[in-house]
């Protein structure tokens, strides 16, 4: 199959997914389960990575801005900008594509190869709607929260690193954080996050749902899903940035 066919099949899949759930109680139960698997279980890694990356960003900025004519507070400003605009929404999404994407592909793919999806269809269940819609809603709702958390922890991590290493003083850092605040930057970041969350839920679902064969193929589909999700995120990031910021 070529890319065009895959794209067509992907959108046909979306059409099946976005139907009214057949039973609201069942939908609600799956939604809570997915919130936990996709969202809550990703808090730890998001917090950990954001904190340390924030620290690294501050140290790098400080070491590269040795010129005495550049005010120190710009370190805080640049850290905030890079966390809000790129690091938290885009890089975290790529990391989550690896973590959550492979979970989604393998859980759906395993259901496919062990005929659990057939069993759902035979009962008269819309399996795409039942399996994928809760995952999409869970990630679209949860990831903006995760990314916001990432931004704050990154800024905090930067402050800790900067102050501990004496590269920047606390007042300078805070002045920098407050410089030229533009709320639209945060909105832009959230728009990106929601789009990426949708991609993270649906591309791996596609690869899992249409897998053929056995456990080996499920493993391969997982790898493919992560690669494609990351590629699509990077490309969309480019276009969204051009559309929203320029």
């Amino acid at each position: 199959m070529n890319y065009i066919e895959h794209t067509g099949k992907y959108f046909a899949m979306l059409k099946q997914i976005f139907r009214k759930p057949q039973k609201w109680i069942i939908f609600k139960e799956s939604l809570f389960r997915e919130m936990e698997d996709i969202g809550i279980n990703s808090i730890g890694i998001t917090a950990f990575i954001s904190f340390f990356v924030g620290g690294v960003v501050v140290i790098q900025m400080a070491l590269n801005l040795e010129n005495p004519f550049i005010p120190r507070y710009l370190i805080g400003y640049a850290t905030r900008m890079s966390l809000v605009l790129e690091f938290s929404p885009t890089l975290m999404s790529i990391i989550l594509a690896g973590k959550v994407g492979s979970y989604i592909t393998s859980s759906i793919g395993t259901m496919r190869v062990t005929e659990q999806i057939d069993a759902l269809e035979v009962m008269g269940v819309n399996s795409l709607n039942y399996l994928v819609l809760p995952k999409i809603i869970a990630s679209v709702v949860f990831y903006p929260l995760l990314v916001t958390l990432g931004i704050f922890l990154g800024i905090y991590g930067g402050m800790v690193a900067g102050v501990l290493t004496d590269l920047i003083s606390m007042p300078d850092y805070i002045t920098g954080l407050r410089t030229d605040l533009d709320p639209f930057h945060f909105t832009y970041s959230m728009i990106k996050t929601v789009v990426f969350a949708f991609v993270i839920a649906t591309i791996p679902a596609y690869h899992g749902y249409y897998v053929h064969g056995g456990s080996l193929e499920v493993g391969r589909a997982g790898t493919k899903a992560v690669v494609w999700t990351s590629v699509v995120i990077i490309v969309l990031n480019y276009f969204l940035t051009q559309m929203l910021l320029s």
Binding site: Q22, K23, I25, I26, R33, T110, M111, T114, E115, Q116, D118, A119, E121, V122, M123, G124, V125, N126
Partner: protein
């Protein structure tokens, strides 16, 4: 009643089912027998609509499956119970939740009513004490029985079983066969079972269909199986020494 007329099904240019026709009646247990790889599972999946046939007609009480829209198909499928060859239980749900799933999805019963029904069917398949276990904690035979419980919990009009008793000991196997037969007669449903177990043929085969290399080579009743001269039937049935002996006793060649 399910009518199948001249269906064909192939994969990647290789024909697997060739010109198969059959009629399956209400209240009767029909058995599809045949060697491994003869196309039994493919046939069943064509009836279920999981595989699209290339030619031919499949109709459920006059409803031609191919002509139904996707919504009507789903409605029709609510009337179908299916036991997959590999059980296909939902891994993330317990035994109780697996069996309850179809009721929860399609009926508006209270939790208590659902539990009563679930326990009723679990009792029928002799599985009372495993409600809270997950499929990964069950033996192969137990999984089969849960799958049967899940298939009958909604009182289906059509029941399909792909080798319901493979992997079961002879006693449980007979129990399952009889259970399926009882339900079939009690509720006047149309039951189709894939099997290569001659015991099942003897126990419950109201109608037997023999598939060979994707062709239907014979059909008849369980008594006819033993008297026919059809070479495909005899070579399938009498590949087992036990049945060779039985035939010799029947035909008087051996004195007990």
């Amino acid at each position: 009643m399910i009518e199948v007329k001249n269906i064909y099904k192939g994969f990647n240019g290789v024909e697997i089912l060739k010109d198969v026709s059959a009629v399956f009646e209400n209240g009767k247990t029909s058995l599809i027998i045949g060697q491994s790889g003869s196309g039994k599972t493919v046939f069943l999946k064509c009836l279920l609509g999981l595989f699209e046939t290339e030619k031919g007609i499949i109709s459920f009480d006059g409803r031609n499956y191919a002509e139904l829209g996707i919504k009507v198909r789903r409605k029709l499928r609510e009337e179908i119970g299916m036991v997959f060859q590999g059980s296909a239980l939902y891994d993330s749900l317990t035994v109780e939740q697996n069996v309850m799933f179809p009721i929860k999805m399609f009926k508006n019963s209270s939790q208590k009513e659902m539990l009563i029904r679930v326990n009723e069917v679990l009792e029928r398949v002799n599985l009372e004490k495993s409600n809270k276990k997950y499929p990964s904690e069950l033996s192969g035979g137990m999984k089969k029985r849960v799958a049967i419980a899940r298939a009958i919990v909604m009182n289906p009009k059509y029941l399909f079983c792909d080798e319901p008793n493979s992997g079961l000991d002879p006693q449980t196997s007979t129990l399952i066969d009889n259970l399926i037969h009882e339900i079939t007669v009690e509720n006047n449903i149309t039951t189709i079972i894939n099997s290569h177990d001659m015991n099942s043929v003897m126990e419950i085969g109201d109608k037997i269909i023999l598939l060979k290399d994707g062709y239907k080579v014979w059909d008849g009743t369980k008594d006819e199986v033993f008297y026919t001269d059809n070479e495909a039937v005899t070579s399938f049935v009498y590949s087992s020494n036990l049945f060779k002996k039985v035939r010799e006793v029947y035909t008087g060649n051996i004195k007990l």
